[in-house]
Subunit: 320 residues, 3 copies
């Protein structure tokens, strides 16, 4: 593009005196900002244990992934000769990192809310050992998910592609790990993990949800699965599906914390894109199929297909 | 899986002569690609000031976050003894980075469009000082957002969880910073900042929108808030909500640039998931509630609940 | 906030004996996890060529972007003097990285599925040279996209802003590169590239789709464009639009792999937010306009505007 761009001349530079004058005003501003840390209306986190670093959380998820799908994600080629050393080392490193972070979560809340001693470090180590006990079973469940993805998606070319590249599998894997930690009442960390997966995939699964094996989320962007949702085996859902709560009264936060607010989806159900299913008493019966864009706040019996009445569309000739 | 994998043999390697032959063809291809930089139909950015680095923009957001929510995100534990030094240093570093980038944005457009001298560096420093003046107030407003999140969401466990992990708070924080820069007519940078938040959270807020305090976006994926939207105090919106423009005629870009095209949402309104509200003259009155999936192109009076007529659903027994 | 935070005392630490006892239990757990790699039900990737590193894929996309939009993304200022060297070097580096990764994809599948020799390395180099031949044309097509974005979006301030910050342009660029590789039957890599763009933008375009020039995706979060979709020239789509397959029978994966399952969109069509168009025989005729939220499983003739019948809404006075 043959324009005549100008170049930086003297007028683009700030002179030394001006620069000095601007910087002179900085300490007073910094003081005001520091003073605002005492503002009772604002949130600061001073004199508490630091929260997690995002790097540590991402690191935990990566290490877990290497153990749950061995050979898929490491830089190194795994073969029968090095497998044992590689996995042993990975397990050991993950143990250290994860028990640090779990300990950290427990200790943070203990000190933050003046709880009596929670034996944070003992608990942290103990919980991670229990989670590790569950890894072989977790691998089996994730393998059912992978198979269900392949069977349900004509665009998938191989298991490798699904494991390596599909956002749905990543989100489900992170959820399944976080759910184990949630069941053991680890604070903060499970939600931080699923929110990382939400950021990467657009799929928002609360770690409290209960989800059976052979679970598929296709495309996935916009999916929301609430804290008290219960999902059976062999359920398939598409992008934009919400399993949510009914509309909330004022101060719902306080009143409804801990109550079942999200639906139950029985085995072998399919829910197409952008369907919305709301309410803690709503049950979708076995083998039912919920069509795209359907909006449901009531239960559906088993073996039922629910679709929108063909929406009336208006066709107009365009003025040309 | 007991397959018999092959290993790389000689046939997997390219011989030296072939490799040489392939590389031989590269310079001619590179020449054609370079020549295409003169193609008037294409876009190049040659002889102009470089645009922002993504790293610098992410760095600014991170530093801002440390100042707006002190102690939440740094690696270091803040306590009353080190607070002053830590915050002073953070403010000073952010001042340098941000005034560089603001200067850079102004200078880029000045040179790009042959404007008369915009005193880019003076303006850049001056604008950042003014933004810093607003930080204590910005902290107060963000604290109202955090409280509104907690009150409205039964799944939230603590303020810490909301501040540290909720995508809605991150998107709102970035928007509120970018909006300050937008009001001071900084080019490029505000939109680059909100698009970063869009990428991280799936929430797309144009920096030009005006949004009051106590603002909540829950889940958030798919939310779009247009440039000229105006949102009052204590408004809560859910995933997939669009506050957009009516359908646009040809060349709308030119005709409508700068006009109010997006709706006004008054105080205390709740908008449930995937509702769409369009048009610059559309006003949702105070305390009204817009149900999920509702599609609105007209105003709604105050104190009104708008829901879809229960959509007709068709229930069929599945053939088994 | 003037609370009295506790500090870490002795009880927060784990004693040496406990730590030793916990670590003692690790080898047995590691053994079980390693043993689970022999579990036929699970997925491991042992004794195969490693898959791609995410870093390498991101690197390829970044380098491509520097070549397709010269001067926009590098750290260095490009001017007529250094342009040739910079571009030559970029092209050469991309050649090496990309031919490695393409070779890698071909070899991986060759060894994984015991195919006869695929001359992976020769093919890898040959394919990348052919892709490079196409770069000047690719630049021209991407420039049509940029112009279409600017003309259609009143919120856009400049071409620079669109190229540098708009997620739609990023997703389209990655798709157009991946589509070239898909046409040359490179396995794995094209999908990995578009899934990276999906993660960054919320826009999920399968590399198999065919898309004409002057293509616009505005906002984009939640857009899904299926593998066998065909899109003409000058088409504009908004956030949440799905171009998908009709609902699938059991084992659809196997039966439908390779068949046309997604719609055809003719030239000059606009599809507003959250419209869903499904089915391999569905054709949207030239110059037609599909309104927001419309759900279509049948063809639409040219020059037709399709909107939802004004949805019946229920207005209730709120009890105050």
């Amino acid at each position: 593009m043959s324009q005549n761009p100008q170049t930086i001349d003297q007028s683009c530079k700030i002179d030394a005196e001006s620069a000095f004058n601007f910087r002179q005003r900085l300490p007073a501003l910094a003081e005001k900002i520091i003073a605002s840390c005492d503002d009772e209306a604002c949130y600061s986190h001073i004199d508490y244990e630091p929260l997690h670093s995002e790097t540590a959380v991402i690191d935990i998820i990566k290490r877990f992934r290497e153990i749950l799908f061995p050979g898929y994600f490491g830089e190194q080629k795994l073969d029968p000769a090095n497998l044992k050393y590689y996995m042993g080392q990975s397990v050991s490193l993950l143990f250290d990192t994860l028990s640090d972070e779990v300990t950290h979560s427990i200790r943070h809340d203990c000190l933050r809310y003046d709880q009596s001693c929670s034996n944070c470090s003992e608990s942290g180590h103990q919980i991670v050992l229990e989670v590790f006990e569950a890894v072989p079973q977790l691998r089996r469940v994730l393998a059912t998910d992978v198979r269900a993805f392949f069977e349900g998606d004509p665009a998938s070319k191989s298991y490798d592609e699904i494991i390596f590249a599909y956002p749905g599998i990543f989100a489900i894997m992170v959820y399944r790990i976080a759910h184990l930690l949630y069941l053991k009442e680890v604070p903060l960390l499970p939600r931080i993990m699923t929110e990382h997966a939400h950021s990467v995939t657009g799929i928002d699964i609360h770690p409290g949800a209960e989800i059976g094996e052979y679970f598929v989320i296709d495309h996935g962007t916009g999916v929301v699965i609430g804290e008290t949702a219960v999902i059976g085996k062999n359920v398939r859902i598409y992008q934009g599906v919400t399993l949510g709560a009914l509309s909330l009264p004022q101060n719902a936060g306080e009143q409804l914390r801990g109550k079942k607010r999200h639906p139950t989806i029985d085995d072998d159900v399919i829910i197409y894109s952008s369907a919305t299913i709301l309410g803690g008493n709503t049950v979708i019966g076995k083998r039912s199929v919920i069509g795209g864009n359907v909006w449901l706040t009531e239960s559906v019996p088993p073996d039922t297909r629910v679709i929108m009445e063909t929406p009336k569309l208006i066709y107009k000739k365009e003025n040309l």
